[in-house]
């Protein structure tokens, strides 16, 4: 778990920063980015195992970011965060190659479990 590298992308800073701290307390290394463009830039210098990506963001939307990430960095597994009632967007994301989707507000244990599954999938395919 200590080797896990996670990139958190969400425009809601308070949320993403707090989440990063909590994951950090659990020994997961995280980086945070607050917009889609920033996420793509970050990937140029930082290669995470998993990317946790919010779908509802101003500017470049989560789905666009997802498409580009899957194209440029197919190894990175993406877990999507959706608002309640946006199940269909989550499903669309999964068709575009996302590993899974979670609804906000999150249960931290559930997120960690999904991250773990995504990493084990990534390593098994590698």
């Amino acid at each position: 778990m200590k080797d896990w590298k996670v990139l958190l992308v969400d425009d809601e800073k308070e949320f993403v920063v707090t989440l990063a701290e909590r994951l950090g307390m659990r020994g997961i290394h995280t980086e945070t980015v607050f917009e889609g463009d920033g996420a793509l830039k970050k990937l140029e210098t930082y290669e995470p195992d998993v990317m946790v990506l919010d779908l509802m963001m101003p500017g470049m939307s989560g789905l666009t970011v997802l498409e580009k990430v899957k194209k440029l960095y197919p190894k990175i597994e993406v877990i999507l965060l959706t608002g309640i009632g946006s199940t269909s967007e989550g499903l669309t994301g999964m068709r575009l190659g996302a590993f899974d989707y979670l609804m906000k507000p999150l249960q931290i244990d559930e997120l960690i479990q999904k991250i773990g599954l995504a990493i084990s999938k990534g390593s098994s395919t590698n």
Partner: protein
């Protein structure tokens, strides 16, 4: 005319205010009046026209035979008189003066005359001085001097004379016929015969009149020449002298007995006589009176039938009109209601999305606090803080449930139709509740129709419908009670499911708002007030209907009707 036009406009105008009883009353009344006018006016006109037309035709029909009869009688009388006159004329010219002056001869002639011609009473020969030379008959008038009498002068001038009826020396009514003869040698004599008017009576009797009718001769001065059945004896004065007409005529009079009568008459051309025939109207118009009564009965029955039909029709029309107005109002209300629901739905969706992010933040912050407390073994008041944070996280969880429901309510869910057994869906749904029922000591009473048709519907949504209603029932019951669930075939189109509880029931006021979103009677925090409005929305979307009956203290009964075939999706 103006006022009539105004009246018609008033009748045709329909008050605009909808659905008030007054409006239906006015419209109904106006329609009834218009229908009555349009049907009764022609009927009344027809009746009146028939009445007068038929009366005129009948009068004509009655008068024509009367005229014929009068004319015939006149001819009979004239023929009779002419016959007698020519007989006397023949006697005057066939015999010489001496032959007639011989009483034996005259008596013989008179006997033959009486034998051959009825009515002759006597026969006399009068010389140019007015002296009765010879006489044959019962009264012994030989030697009577007629010189100076009007008739004698008349016959001397005109050669012929037929008298009015008179009594004269003979003391009974008779007519005198006198004929002057001037022989070739210039000798002048007059033969005079009298005729019993009984013969005239016989002629009248032979007309065969009914008991109520009368016929008689009068002269132009209105003196009876024959006796009348009702109006006087011979030589009495007749109460009425009809206007002169030598053609048969009929006039209408009221006779001295007070009867309405037709009076047919004709003036004689050669004599002073007028023949009069009297027939009471009541007799001849009997047919007319019957017909008039028939007409009246037909009119009254027609009137009654029309009024009844009009009232009945108007009633039915008004009922239909009210029903269709009610339906329209109901449809409008339903549209309003669904608009209300959909706008509230949009609002709810917005609220849910907006609230969701801060909620996620609160969740994470609280989570972090929890982490910090738990990872620090020396945290002061650790247990208290752990509980406080737990409470925050639980509240966030509750908010999450609410926003989830709000979105569920707002979402335009596509109906996923499959053929399913509603009994099965009910049993599945009850599966969720069995434990709670056991725990609350609630009896679940199932009465599912074995022959229930399978229907086309959405399993998940049906489950939500039943679950919502069952949850409400469970909440209403509290501890101990019964929930009775039954399914049944309503008709060829629909099936029904009834869920009845023995809970605390609802007041009428609550019942009115029961399907409105955010309406709840549960304590704050216990319910969102969305359950039943979601249920309502789903049932409507599935093409069904939902009814609720409730009584405070007795319980509530929900009935859900579902179509066997799903209607075309409306997207509501």
């Amino acid at each position: 005319m103006r006022s009539l036009k105004g009246l018609i406009e008033d009748l045709l105008s329909i008050p605009e205010e909808r659905s008030t009883p007054e409006r239906y009353r006015i419209v109904g009344r106006n329609i009834a009046i218009l229908m009555l006018i349009t049907t009764l006016v022609p009927l009344a006109l027809m009746t009146v026209i028939n009445y007068f037309e038929y009366k005129a035709a009948l009068r004509n029909e009655i008068q024509a035979p009367m005229k014929t009869l009068v004319n015939k009688a006149k001819h009979s009388f004239e023929l009779f008189l002419a016959g007698r006159l020519s007989t006397v004329n023949f006697i005057a010219s066939a015999y010489k003066f001496e032959e007639l002056a011989d009483e034996k001869n005259l008596n013989r002639i008179f006997r033959v005359l009486k034998k051959e011609f009825e009515g002759f009473v006597d026969l006399g020969l009068i010389d140019s001085n007015g002296m009765q030379v010879s006489y044959a008959g019962p009264y012994g008038l030989q030697g009577k001097d007629y010189a100076g009498q009007a008739w004698f002068e008349h016959v001397r001038v005109n050669g012929v004379y037929i008298s009015d009826v008179f009594k004269g020396y003979r003391k009974f009514p008779h007519i005198a016929i006198a004929v002057q003869h001037i022989s070739d040698d210039g000798r002048e004599w007059i033969v005079r015969a009298t005729i019993n008017t009984g013969k005239l009576d016989d002629l009248i009797a032979s007309m065969g009149l009914d008991a109520e009718s009368d016929a008689f001769l009068i002269n132009r001065q209105g003196v009876f020449q024959t006796k009348s059945r009702f109006y006087g004896d011979v030589l009495d004065k007749c109460p009425e002298i009809p206007p002169i007409s030598f053609e048969p005529a009929v006039i209408e009079r009221i006779d001295p007995l007070g009867r309405d009568v037709f009076l047919g008459y004709v003036y004689f051309n050669q004599n002073d006589f007028v023949f009069v025939l009297v027939k009471p109207k009541s007799d001849v118009l009997k047919v007319w009176y019957t017909l008039r009564a028939d007409l009246l009965i037909v009119f009254v029955i027609g009137l009654a039938v029309i009024i009844l039909a009009v009232l009945k029709l108007t009633n039915i029309m008004m009922k239909r009109m009210k029903e269709s107005d009610d339906k329209r109002t109901l449809a409008l209300r339903e549209v309003e209601h669904s608009h209300k629901l959909s706008s509230i739905g949009r609002l709810a969706a917005g609220v849910a999305h907006e609230v969701n992010n801060p909620l996620a933040v609160i969740n994470e912050k609280a989570g972090l606090m929890q982490d910090l407390i738990q990872y620090n073994p020396d945290f002061p008041d650790k247990d208290r803080f752990v509980n406080l944070v737990k409470a925050i996280i639980q509240s966030v969880e509750r908010c999450r449930t609410i926003t989830h429901r709000l979105l569920g309510f707002a979402r335009r869910m596509d109906v996923e139709v499959q053929i399913l057994d509603v009994n099965e869906v009910l049993q599945e749904t009850l599966g969720f509740l069995e434990k709670e029922a056991l725990y609350k000591n609630v009896k679940l009473d199932l009465d599912l129709s074995k022959n229930l048709s399978k229907i086309e519907s959405d399993r998940g949504q049906l489950q939500q419908v039943f679950l919502n209603i069952l949850n409400n029932a469970m909440a209403a019951i509290g501890d101990g009670g019964t929930i009775a669930i039954s399914s049944f075939e309503r008709d060829s189109q629909m099936i029904g499911v009834t869920i009845k509880d023995t809970g605390h029931g609802m007041s009428d006021e609550t019942l009115k708002h029961v399907f409105e979103p955010f309406f709840t009677t549960k304590k704050s925090g216990e319910g969102t007030g969305l359950g039943l409005s979601i249920t309502y929305g789903i049932v409507k979307r599935l093409g069904g209907d939902i009814e609720v009956q409730s009584k405070t203290g007795t319980g509530t009964r929900f009935t859900v009707y579902l179509p066997k075939k799903t209607p075309a999706q409306s997207g509501v």
